[in-house]
């Protein structure tokens, strides 16, 4: 069902991005402005793959909100399960 997919898919995306931020260790502290990898001078320290990871994880807080919140998805599933035969 679409609701189950939305519910678990959103949670999974969050879990993956949270783990990515954890895996960055102290690179995860750094703010990487857009396009900062293009020039060398203003480049913040940290590995090249670190740029954008935290930004992604922050944005993904919205996956359980947009398109019907996790709470609403659970309501829809429960309604399907519990409505009178």
């Amino acid at each position: 069902m679409a609701s189950m997919l939305k519910l678990t898919g959103a949670q999974l995306m969050q879990a993956i991005s949270e783990l990515s931020v954890e895996a960055l260790e102290d690179d995860g502290l750094i703010f990487y402005p857009k396009d900062c990898l293009e020039t060398d001078e203003d480049r913040p320290p940290g590995s090249a793959y670190a740029a954008g990871v935290v930004a992604d994880a922050l944005y993904r807080r919205a996956t359980t909100i947009y398109g019907g919140t996790g709470q609403i998805q659970r309501n829809l599933i429960a309604r399907y399960l519990l409505e009178a035969e």
């Binding site: 750094i30 703010f31 922050l58 807080r61």
Partner: protein, 363 residues
Amino acid sequence: MNFAPTEEQALLLDSIKRFVQREYKDGMRPASAMGPETDRWRTFADLGWLGLVAGLDGTSLAESVQPTTILAGELGAGLAPEPLLQYAILSAIVLRELSDSPLAQLRLRELSAGNWLPLLACGGAQCAPEITVTAEGFGSRYRLNGVVRRLLGASSAHSFLVPARLQTEVLFELLPKTAGVTRRDFRTVDGRSMSDLVLCDALVTPDQLISDSAELSAVLTRGWNHATLATCAEMVGVMSRALDATRSYLRVRRQFGRPIAEFQALQHQVAEMFVELEQARSMLVRGSTALQEPTFRGTLRQIHAMKVRVNEAAKKVGAQAIQLHGGIGMTEEYIVGRCYKRLLVDGKLFGDTRACLARFISE
């Protein structure tokens, strides 16, 4: 146990709360300048907050624990961006405990008066103070090499207190403009100023050697433990702010014809947030006890356990605060997003969950 504040603590709490309300409305964006040239830092000095751990009035380090916890917690609730913790707690304690060093005592007095910013240079994200700089004799001077990562507030420092490995462990004072010292400044995820320090054949003179005491390692650890406690207090303050915002929102926001606070699912979620916060607070109390009682055994384990529990609570409380606000929780102008980012950064400072857990197991 009696958790009621003493009269002195209640007065301190009150004065900080009023300051925070006045200065940090809505968790405003951090200013670029934050040193003794700013009004705020001068106010910190005038109110005695920079001298809380210095013990210049005879208070013991143990006695400073409660006031610093209160200060850190309230400034956290205000999302104060100034690196007061790094200077007036971490660096101040290290200076204080090196009582045999006239230079350390001089810097401590100047720090307390708000006139000098000496910063301990140990990797900011480690769960214990790490020495990453080597020193070797070079003629009449010493040559320093190494990298110190993730120093919060380093761009404001007047000098760095650099622990280094000579034949033993020593502490030097290093001025930022010394040849061979490169400071890479950047912003943290939550908008504060942080830097990496790169030392390449930086030269210091013998009178810049603050201490070669055999106690240095223990002193650094003591400072680190207190700073970790203060960071946890700060995180509890931030979580409280996020929870309070959530409670208000739930009562005010209407959907489907009623305040959303009437929906049981949301009631349960906010209740769980509160339970997480209170558990974090309890671990904070336990860590605080560990640092106040000289007979407490297993202090390091307690500090690491505290950081782990507070980090975990912060993830849950921070995330739920956004979730319960719905779309508004994602906006840049709103407080809960800022709380989340602050908790993310503080969660990594002084040890992330994985590192603290590994240490806890090995102790």
